[in-house]
């Protein structure tokens, strides 16, 4: 059989099988109400089918898998997070409006006094062995419920005693007082709710406590009324119910607040002041790091590019070791080394610097560690750039009588800078978002005293945003964090684009 045909045939089989799997998965997702993912799977299957069988476009065949994954796990989350920036999603505002109102109503229950205590009986459902409660309240029929479902039953009149006690219910075993005592743990947690909002809870082995929520929700008018005080509460624009006198009810809900997260960055002093300090350090840290590490790398490259130095390769191997150690591990080790007084560094150099607890020393420590991680890379790229300078240029300069210093400043340096410039821009962009080096070393601390407990002296924008979203002292604020993420993205994006543009013009100058 023709091998080419077999391989082509099996390729088609594989492709169709894959598309089929995507369709099946998409359908299951649809059935489980995962709308976005289901649609994504269907669209992906369609695109795969189109790209690999019908479309004439060759590039698409190479790019599609990467693009699909990029869309699902990078682009979609980025947009979704961005959308959160326009809400007040945070602790206390995570429910939907309906859920929040239901929670307020549920929590506001107060006991109702009844003329006679409401008696109940405990039953066990044969088969499921679930505990049920049987009682009578304001109706001819009895209520039967296990706390989840409730139904109305009318037992055979012949099995009802004069005082209302029922002696037989089909499918259930009625418990004696002793047997009821054995079920006390379950009964204590049982809450039975009627549609009218009235709820019952066993208060001892025989009687139920009847309560009614104090709040009533009028859906038509969209207001909550406190039946005791008569106070009415209406929704404000921050996802909360407030009364005319300003009393706020908890919990609130997730509401769309438009640009308020963004404007609060400028208008709210509590947010603006720490944020400004964080932004300044973000830029300072990134630029200082790239500048210092580049200079260090360049100097080392020049020193070790000396032909007569035979152990070049030995030194180079050692210099790149910081790059070779997984940064997660080396950063944590560094944080241990920088411990004040008892730490290795303080003891080794006989100094007593409060590295991680003093704002400025913490910043120095961060820069030292970042330098340690970055200088090998700078060393390598500057070495490469220097070695790429054509020898003739340097010889010509020497013949023209240029001193080594002049040869350096007027020939080597400009050429090297021009060659590595794009990489430096990329390094700045990465340094602006250097989460690990900050978070693992100092956690962003030491914390500013005037902030909301989140921002610290070594915090850069991304670590501050992370803390706001996942680790906040005042309740995680996903809305604000998302707004800051967008800000972060804009800053890094604009700087990168500006840097790249500047280099395009530099390229032209030859």
């Amino acid at each position: 059989m023709n091998i080419k045909a077999v391989s082509k045939g099996s390729k088609y089989l594989f492709a169709f099988g894959f598309i089929l799997i995507l369709l099946v998965m998409g359908t299951k997702l649809y059935q489980d109400k995962a709308w976005f993912l289901a649609i994504f799977f269907y669209v992906s299957a369609a695109l795969i089918f189109y790209t690999y069988s019908i479309s004439k476009s060759t590039p698409a065949k190479y790019l599609l898998p990467g693009v699909l994954l990029l869309t699902l796990f990078h682009i979609y989350p980025a947009f979704y997070s961005g959308a959160v920036a326009f809400t007040n999603d945070s602790n206390g505002h995570q429910l939907t409006k309906d859920q929040a109102i239901a929670a307020i109503v549920q929590d506001s229950k107060i006991p109702i006094a009844t003329q006679e205590p409401v008696k109940y009986q405990t039953l066990i459902e044969e088969g499921s062995k679930k505990v049920f409660v049987l009682f009578k309240y304001e109706s001819e029929n009895y209520w039967l419920s296990d706390g989840n479902a409730i139904r109305s039953v009318s037992p055979d009149p012949r099995s009802v005693l004069v005082d209302g006690t029922v002696v037989k219910v089909g499918g259930f075993t009625i418990l004696s007082p002793d047997q009821t005592q054995a079920q006390i743990a379950v009964l204590q947690n049982l809450v039975i709710n009627l549609d009218s909002g009235i709820s019952f809870q066993p208060q001892d082995l025989e009687t139920l406590e009847v309560s009614q929520p104090a709040f009533m929700y009028n859906e038509a008018k969209d207001e909550l009324i406190n039946t005791l005080s008569g106070e009415s509460y209406e929704p404000n624009d921050n996802g909360q119910m407030v009364s005319k006198s300003g009393e706020v009810l908890y919990p609130g809900w997730k509401a769309n607040i438009g640009w308020r997260n963004f404007s609060s960055i400028i208008t709210d002093k509590e947010i603006r002041r720490p944020l400004l300090a964080v932004l300044v350090w973000t830029f300072a840290n990134a630029f200082l790091l790239v500048l210092i590490s580049f200079l260090m790398g360049l100097v080392l490259a020049l020193i070790f590019n000396f032909p007569a130095l035979r152990s070049k390769r030995f030194y180079r191997t050692i210099f790149i070791i910081p790059m070779a150690i997984p940064s997660v591990l080396s950063l944590l080790v560094w944080s241990g080394l920088f411990t004040a007084e008892t730490g290795v560094i303080d003891r080794l150099f006989h100094i007593s610097i409060p590295w991680l607890t003093h704002p400025w020393w913490a910043r120095v420590a961060v820069l030292i560690v970042e330098l340690w991680i970055t200088f090998p890379y700078m060393f390598l790229i500057t070495t490469g750039a220097i070695q790429a300078i054509p020898g003739e240029i340097l010889e010509a300069a020497a013949i023209d009588g240029a001193s080594p210093a002049k040869s350096f400043t007027q020939i080597k340096l400009p050429l090297v800078v021009r060659t590595v410039a794009p990489l430096l821009v990329a390094s700045v962009a990465m340094a602006l978002n250097n989460f690990g080096a900050i978070y693992l070393l100092t956690g962003g601390g030491p914390t500013f005293s005037n902030s909301n407990g989140n921002a610290g002296a070594t915090d850069i924008l991304i670590s501050y945003t992370y803390k706001l979203a996942f680790n906040s002292q005042e309740g995680n604020n996903y809305g604000l964090a998302s707004a800051l993420s967008i800000l972060n993205f804009l800053i890094v994006g604009l700087i990168s684009i500006y840097g790249l543009k500047k280099m395009k013009t530099m390229e032209g100058i030859n």
């Binding site: 070790f304 080790v333 994006g493």
Partner: protein
């Protein structure tokens, strides 16, 4: 001799100082790993109480199973790095060789998308994988497959740019010659590009591999808090951030064990790595 002293000796001096700086944490990591008292704060260079206790502790801890973490890390990193290289290489080949309408847009988009740090979208990723898990258990939280796919989402990024730059250095005449011989675009990719680009593939794989071993944020979000599911990067932190104070002994022991293979790989492939980075700098 005068020459050597004047021109060379001082370079050695500088080299030794910088080498000490570069090796500083590694030296103390080794020291603390063999120190039975397990305190990096009061560490002496040669530990007073030497021993292998930390290593034993590392492998016998049921809730912090270092052996399982290593296995997890390897599986995830190798699969995801492999995926990133394959997807990246395919895309880079097309972006380098084919001229098509959306080409510049694609390149710019890749660059820009990478600027949004994936870690800030961690909650969304959590929600997505959680939703997956409700329909397909194997794609849900606590499993490795979704994590590998999430890393695959970053394939079209810095890797692709680096690979594309390299492919750009391969003269198109080779492609032309092959085309004349009747080769289709995928055959050119398989038979010509791949063999020529093997060193850069190795470099890309290595860098991706190290990056994924290092990743702990999204990993912890997706894999969760169960000790058996963690990777080395997530798990070792438990020794430092746990409730019982900083346990540097097992931490440095584990860090050492994790560092040695990675570092060996790095040094072994140093030649390729350096040429890859250096060519990246001269070509931009």
């Amino acid at each position: 001799m005068r020459f050597w002293l004047k021109k060379v000796l001082w370079r050695h001096v500088v080299g030794i100082v910088v080498a000490a700086f570069a090796l500083f944490p590694l030296v103390w990591m080794i020291s603390a790993a063999f120190d039975v008292t397990g305190q990096i704060s009061t560490q002496q260079l040669i530990p007073v109480h030497k021993g292998l206790d930390n290593f034993v502790q590392l492998f016998s801890n049921k809730e912090k199973p270092f052996g399982i973490w290593s296995k997890n890390s390897l599986i995830i990193a190798i699969s995801a790095a492999g995926m990133q290289v394959i997807i990246g290489a395919l895309a880079a080949y097309s972006l380098s060789r084919h001229r098509f309408k959306g080409r510049k847009l694609t390149l710019t988009t890749i660059l820009i998308v990478q600027m949004f740090p994936q870690l800030l979208a961690a909650t969304t990723l959590f929600l997505i994988i959680n939703t997956f898990g409700r329909s397909f258990a194997i794609l849900g939280l606590g499993h490795q497959l979704p994590l590998i796919l999430v890393f695959g989402g970053s394939a079209l990024g810095v890797n692709t740019w680096m690979l594309k730059s390299f492919f750009d250095t391969l003269p198109t005449e080779i492609d032309e010659a092959a085309k004349i011989d009747g080769a289709g675009h995928f055959e050119i990719f398989r038979k010509i590009i791949i063999p020529l680009a093997t060193p850069i593939f190795v470099v890309t794989f290595l860098l991706s591999f190290i990056g994924i071993i290092n990743e702990y944020l999204i990993t912890s979000v997706i894999l969760g808090l169960d000790g058996k599911n963690m990777t080395v990067a997530v798990g070792l932190q438990q020794f430092i951030y746990g409730q019982y104070g900083k346990n540097w002994g097992p931490f440095t022991a584990g860090a050492l064990l994790a560092t040695i293979p990675v570092m060996t790989l790095f040094i072994f492939l140093q030649k390729h790595l350096v040429s890859g980075l250096v060519s990246g700098s001269t070509k931009g």
